[in-house]
Symmetry: C2
Subunit: 351 residues, 2 copies
């Protein structure tokens, strides 16, 4: 007899029980006597039996997979922000016995051609979408009755769960830090204000200034950039420091990429950081550690974002009903040289 992998029937035979009883044990159901459960588990481990995913899938109409959707540009960027988010999801999903299938989609409007194969093949039980994306993709998932969780993006017109960075708290932390260092002339490099996270950071910044009784001066508030990249930060900084109405002594950039661009411009302009201008970013990307001076920033727990989303999605799948939650992930202030403060880490309260 060829060595065939054992099936549930082998376990049934060995224990003298029926397949359905074995199945009950496999699925951790309640209505099984302790004695029976023990016997079954013993037989399972003796036979080295493991149920096959595809058989379970066909019978139960579940795949055991979670789909993770990323736009191509997020996927391909050098900075591993979303990669870390993905890893967080992967790790947490595994704890819940799910596999994660990763795929990328067009940045723009969906072309029907490349609907993720896992949607067509019914090969996922739920979807996580990370980062800004065309709402068409959200609808695509929703229309298939799949639970969806967004990460770092929201679309108010769609009823869908989301996991957001605590952008507002982060911006407040940044302003508090600068204010505590004595700064009262604080500029903002906002970037693309159409992005939900950026918008929240701007709001938090404004609220922070207000709380400290600091005026928000329009000429120090650069909100006209179409993107949030390094170049946008550099351009914004040039604008800001060409102002004739005096200069800010500190700048909050709505993300690290723009902060780094700003730093480049300041170097060109021979404006010393942090001596002449203190600088704080947001995100805590790797590159911020390699610039000179190193960047003070708001740390985002990227893996945690992914893990939270996985947990939410698993809950949604288990519930079977499409409840909508909004979870905010806490952030920390990380003080490095660019702000001129004493080097420490302030842990924010859990959101």
């Amino acid at each position: 007899m060829a060595t065939r992998r054992p099936t549930i029937r082998d376990v049934a035979k060995k224990t003298g029980l029926s397949v359905s009883t074995i199945s009950l044990v496999l699925n951790e159901q309640e209505n099984v006597s302790d004695e029976t459960r023990r016997r079954v588990k013993k037989a399972i481990s003796e036979l080295k039996y493991h149920p096959r995913r595809s058989a379970r899938g066909l019978a139960s109409q579940t795949s055991g997979n979670i789909g993770f959707i990323l736009t191509e540009d997020h996927f391909l960027q050098a900075e591993p922000f979303y990669t870390k988010v993905f890893l967080g999801t992967e790790f947490e999903a595994r704890r819940h016995q799910y596999y994660v299938l990763l795929t990328t989609v067009d940045k723009g409007r969906k072309s029907n051609r490349d609907i993720p194969r896992f949607l067509l093949e019914h090969n996922v039980d739920g979807i996580i979408i990370a980062g800004r994306i065309s709402p068409g993709w959200i609808d695509e998932c929703l229309s298939r009755d799949l639970p969806v969780v967004l990460i770092d993006f929201e679309e108010p017109s769609r009823r869908v769960s989301t996991v957001m960075i605590d952008n507002r708290a982060g911006a407040l932390l940044a302003v508090d830090h600068l204010a505590s260092l004595g700064h009262a002339r604080i500029g903002l490099i906002a970037g693309d204000i159409g992005h939900p996270s950026i918008a929240e950071r701007i709001a938090g910044f404004a609220a922070g200034l207000k709380a400290h009784g600091i005026e928000m001066r329009p000429e120090w508030t650069i909100t006209d950039q179409p993107e949030t990249g390094i170049e946008n930060g550099a351009t914004a900084a040039r604008k800001l420091f060409s102002s004739v109405n005096g200069r800010p002594t500190a700048i909050f950039a709505a993300n690290d990429a723009m902060a780094i661009g700003c730093l480049q411009t300041l170097k060109e302009l021979k404006i010393a950081v942090p001596r002449d201008v203190a600088l704080v970013g947001f995100d805590d990307i790797e590159a911020g550690l390699h610039v000179e001076p190193r960047l003070t920033t708001i740390h985002v727990h990227k893996e945690e974002l992914g893990a939270i989303a996985a947990r939410r999605l698993v809950e949604l799948i288990a519930a079977g009903s499409p409840s909508v939650t909004r979870t905010t992930a806490a952030v920390d202030l990380v003080v490095r040289e660019s702000s001129g403060g004493p080097i420490t880490v302030t842990v924010s309260k859990r959101a």
Copy 2:
């Protein structure tokens, strides 16, 4: 009638053909008349029918998945080297209609506790293992009759396909570059010589020196480091420059991490790079772009490594027989400031 997703039977009914004929068309079999094929495809697209992966899986005993195994330390490091390799695999696998399931395992000897679930559940048709790993894991896969492809690691005692970086060519490129700049006193920071890739780089370095008639001086050849991290590079550099027998004018570090560590030490010792000492690394990691001066290095096409492995694995799965191949991925010299050469990129010949 509730909207139920169409099955193969619906297609059969609609065309008046049998399920098995539809199946033949689905699987691109030959023995179907063109007319029938046309009709079936028409019906399929009209019904928006898509076969479900789990049904196919159960019937055909295939999963449509590829397993990607990484050790935990590779997985968690900040530098996205293996992440990029994974992405290359993911992308290429998708082209071949495979999904990729990622998992991590212990660095050390395998504990039976956490055998990747996809192995137990028969949920992969083949395995890619990236980076140095305990041979036990290779055996674990092989013993389950699964095709395996290694990336950036080999284990001569195991008959298994592998995709290697062209380490030797890269080291030669590095030496050629330094020699062409007039250096005749070239040191080596080797790191952990037990690693297959590092060993090849050392061999290539030695061959390069020989080809240029340059002596390989033991006191400039640091091979006693247990790892290949930044600290090891720093330590090795301290050793190298404490030598009483004069100093090298150039150094080849067997990877960028050690090159960066070396750079740190040189800064401490007030040795200017590239003025006093030229420095070349290997790998082209992100951090090399952020050090001052930026690192001249050997570029490794990380995504390509992953893609090649995916292609090999798909071939192995299709073949059904366990042939063994060894593929070498070409590398490029990337000249930046740390070597003092004119800034260019030399593309190596395809290996």
